[in-house]
């Protein structure tokens, strides 16, 4: 696997891990019970995808997925700013969900054509779950597309899809929370 491929996989894995974390923040408080179930399930899927992607890269580097997920500093994460935001407005959550799934679909389609069989195979597997995420995002998009609050949220968040490298101040806060348990034990602890 080339260094470039590893970077791309890490980029996707970081997006999925952080977005999965953010989506999970709706568990128990989504505006509808059905959305509580849907967002919790999507969050679980995204974190599962992150793990599988980290594992591919970790194998190349002779380390573990957990080390990639939790032992880097916030600066080293490659995620886009759009996934970092703690968004409690429903219209923004849906706008981010739609924008992300749209962009993720394109990226996965490319990855499915990879010459590396492990990468192509994993992309195909991930894409089978993403189909449900896209259906969910699309139905909301179709319903809200004329709503000014929603279109404003789309316009505000779209540029953040491309913002990688720099992070918002929300990532270090999330990182503290996300890695707290792991950091509480000495390095090398078997979980």
């Amino acid at each position: 696997m080339t260094e470039q491929e590893q970077q791309l996989l890490l980029e996707i894995a970081d997006d999925e891990l952080i977005l999965g974390w953010r989506d999970s923040e709706w568990t128990g408080i989504a505006p509808l019970l059905e959305e509580d179930v849907a967002f919790s399930s999507i969050a679980q899927n995204e974190i599962g995808h992150a793990r599988a992607l980290y594992e591919l890269v970790a194998r190349e580097r002779g380390i573990t997925a957990d080390e990639l997920a939790f032992d880097r500093t916030p600066d080293e994460y490659r995620c886009a700013q759009i996934v970092e935001l703690r968004l409690l407005d429903w219209e923004k959550t849906i706008a981010r969900h739609y924008l992300y799934e749209e962009a993720d679909a394109k990226r996965l389609a490319q990855l499915k054509g990879s010459e590396n069989a492990a990468i192509a195979g994993l992309a195909a597997k991930i894409d089978r779950e993403e189909v449900y995420h896209r259906m969910h995002a699309q139905m909301w998009h179709d319903r809200l597309r004329e709503e000014p609050r929603y279109t404003a949220a789309l316009a505000e968040l779209r540029p953040l899809l491309e913002q990688r490298g720099d992070h918002t101040s929300e990532l270090p806060e999330l990182w503290e929370e996300m890695t707290m348990v792991r950091r509480s034990q000495p390095a090398g602890t078997k979980w």
């Binding site: 509808l32 019970l33 059905e34 179930v37 849907a38 399930s41 449900y132 259906m135 969910h136 139905m139 179709d142 319903r143």
Partner: protein
Amino acid sequence: MIYEVFRQERKGQPFQHAGSVEAADDHFADVYAREQYGRRGESTALWIVPRSAVMEIHEFVDELNRNYHRVDGYPLKEKLKEARDRAGTAATAGDR
């Protein structure tokens, strides 16, 4: 709107009530029902029905009291007990 969801576990088996989802329209109901009852291989098919489309019957009037149409129309238990009591009494009387 409330939709009732029925699922079929395996081909050829009857559909059974799985639960309900609250959804803004048919499209949302479709996605929610798939999410909650279909996407983990637990169903081969789903029926999704607006609750308002379900005809309900709760009262079953039996004006002529023709309970002999039913298998429980003859409560045998009571009659049997009476018969046993009678027989028991008769037997005891005979012993004397």
